[in-house]
Subunit: 351 residues, 2 copies
DNA sequence: TTGAAAGCGCTAACAT
DNA sequence: ATGTTAGCGCTTTCAA
């Protein structure tokens, strides 16, 4: 009933026979690394024949021999977060130019699952890894380092100086941009919804907040349980329930800022009239929210691209020294921030 | 300087030696299909030893032998479109239960690139494909069918009845939901921004619009060049420039609806006061836009999940008959639709 | 129920 | 510059 249609794949032997040379000559001619060892005329005939027969090297056979898959694993904490698609595009573009393919794995915010996912990726014999899931101390990363698997961290990095490559943002600097903007608008009581302190982003942004706002009140800093809307909502609710008045809040990322919107709406507060809100990431579509979010823009695509390039370099030369690339963020001012109300509404936030 | 750390992977031979049996026995014991051929006691010792040694079959070696990669290719038109992440999650969950891994490829709206991407995926020896990129007549799909590669279409399907599995939405029915809602609100002049007619979604939704609104005016139907915000903006601008008055527009998807927002804002019209807008997909975050989008909700996750399941079934039994699964959409009413202004503002849209 | 042996398609060391 | 040979690690007949 079903046509099998199985067009038998051409093997290297088919090409060899067609040209009248030995299989190994075909192999050499087709590999850029070894092409120089074969006569140009022969190489051309081989190229022609292999094109004509639609020959492509079997990844299993060559992988078995060479122990390279030309595949890298990419571990993402949450693919539903719109920051990641642009990052992934950057990664894929970088890999594609090196003839490499990404296997994307979703960690879904469950750190304990990371080990299993790593096993799965390693089981696929990936040549290296790009991890967007790193915690400040991270068992998965440690394991990779111990096993000598090439790794590049992206967005998040480890605590302290470690010999591992990473492409991150200047999180402190980015938060300073947001704080300075609010201060310039006249805000004096600014709260911070910090990201999880187990993550370098949460940690660094909190430090950046403290550094930028010397007068920061500890009571106005709340740590969110996760980078999610619900966690942002919960944190903001906690802030509103506290007795410290404030007129603005710096959220550690856009999703948390969205959660702030929810909490604010629930108690009938208006953003930015009652409370100004800033985010971090400038993820796609935040310019369309009500109100459009003032946020710190990071170079999503560039970040992915650079991480991909760095990993490719590590694969090319296994002794490449690790590097840390820090990308500069910028502030995008939109409708979620405004000068505090003159009416002394400042105190209104305390209840 | 760099610790090689290369922990030699355990091979099947290591396990065999540890247990004192032949490698082939280990192979049989570890494969659920053939496990029954080996004595239970031996099987247990093999399982224990392989666990102890951290043995996992080398995918290259077994793939070379069995011609199966336990990998499937997933072709997505645009990963930046937030509909896809939930769909991908569904697909991955379905594959994971079958021990399969997805390789996601981004087609980036360039149909001519699809062939190359297909080659790359096939070169990776994927066992099957899930295509979200199908056009009503699609060279890539034809090629897969001709070559006997198992394929499941998702979201979009081919023109006419074809022997190929697909998981799609009831696009006609979905649009009818939107039209009926607008009519119930009192709208009489309703426009449609159709999706590309080369895609089954664009085509079916347009048909659905025509079917639901017998009095539809051809001058109030504009085909967008792509499913994108800019295309939606352009189409809406064209509609506004026409002389036909209308009070509502049914966009063929959410991105097009967003483009409508832009066009409306540019000419100083307010949604929904001047013009009501509906979308399609209910992609993440459209509930947060200004105004929150009234749209047709599709079962993103379920769609992915079902497609994955169907493909797994095709891989398990190559002679499985093809099926088409049609998922039911529902309407989500939000702030972008309202009754038309009583003020006879109807005509206002014409200039 | 288990072992022996062959071979999947390719590449790399060695030989010429 | 090209051919010979061996073998990567696994699965699968075939034999016992």
């Amino acid at each position: 009933m079903i046509k099998p249609g199985k067009t038998k794949k051409a093997t290297i032997l088919d090409v060899a026979k067609a040209v009248g040379v030995h299989a190994s000559t075909v192999s050499r001619a087709l590999n850029p690394q070894t092409q120089h060892m074969v006569a140009e005329a022969v190489a051309e005939r081989i190229a022609a024949a292999s094109r004509r027969l639609g020959y492509t090297a079997d990844v299993f056979a060559s992988g078995l021999r060479t122990r390279r898959s030309n595949t890298v694993g990419v571990l993402i904490p949450d693919i539903m977060n719109p920051v990641f698609p642009p990052i992934l595009r950057g990664i894929e573009d970088a890999l594609a130019t090196a003839g490499c393919t990404a296997i994307i794995a979703n960690a879904e915010g469950e750190p304990q699952r990371h080990g299993t996912i790593l096993d799965r990726l390693l089981g696929r014999r990936v040549d290296g890894l790009i991890l967007a899931t790193a915690q400040r101390r991270d068992a998965v990363v440690e394991r990779c380092m111990a096993e000598g698997v090439p790794v590049v961290l992206i967005n998040r990095t480890l605590a302290g100086k470690r010999p591992i490559s990473a492409v991150v943002n200047d999180d402190e600097g980015g938060i300073k941009l947001a704080v300075d903007h609010l201060v310039a608008q006249g805000h004096r009581h600014i709260a911070h919804i910090a990201g999880p302190q187990a993550l370098s982003t949460g940690y660094a942004r909190r430090s950046g907040f403290l550094a930028a706002l010397k007068t920061a009140d500890p009571a106005l800093i709340v740590e969110a349980a996760a980078y999610s809307e619900t966690a942002g909502d919960a944190a903001m609710t906690k802030l509103l329930a506290g007795k410290m008045p404030f007129t603005a809040v710096v959220a550690a990322n856009d999703l948390l800022a969205l959660g702030c919107y929810d909490a604010l709406a629930r108690v009938g507060f208006h953003c930015p009239r009652d409370i100004s809100v800033t985010g971090f990431n400038d993820m796609p579509f935040v310019d369309r929210f009500a109100p459009p979010l003032t946020t710190v823009r990071i170079q999503h695509y560039e970040m992915g691209r650079r991480a991909g390039d760095v990993l490719m370099e590590h694969l090319r030369r296994r002794d490449t020294a690790s590097v840390t690339i820090r990308l500069e963020p910028s502030l995008v001012v939109r409708g979620s921030t405004a000068p505090p109300a003159a009416s002394g509404r400042t105190g209104s936030a305390s209840r």
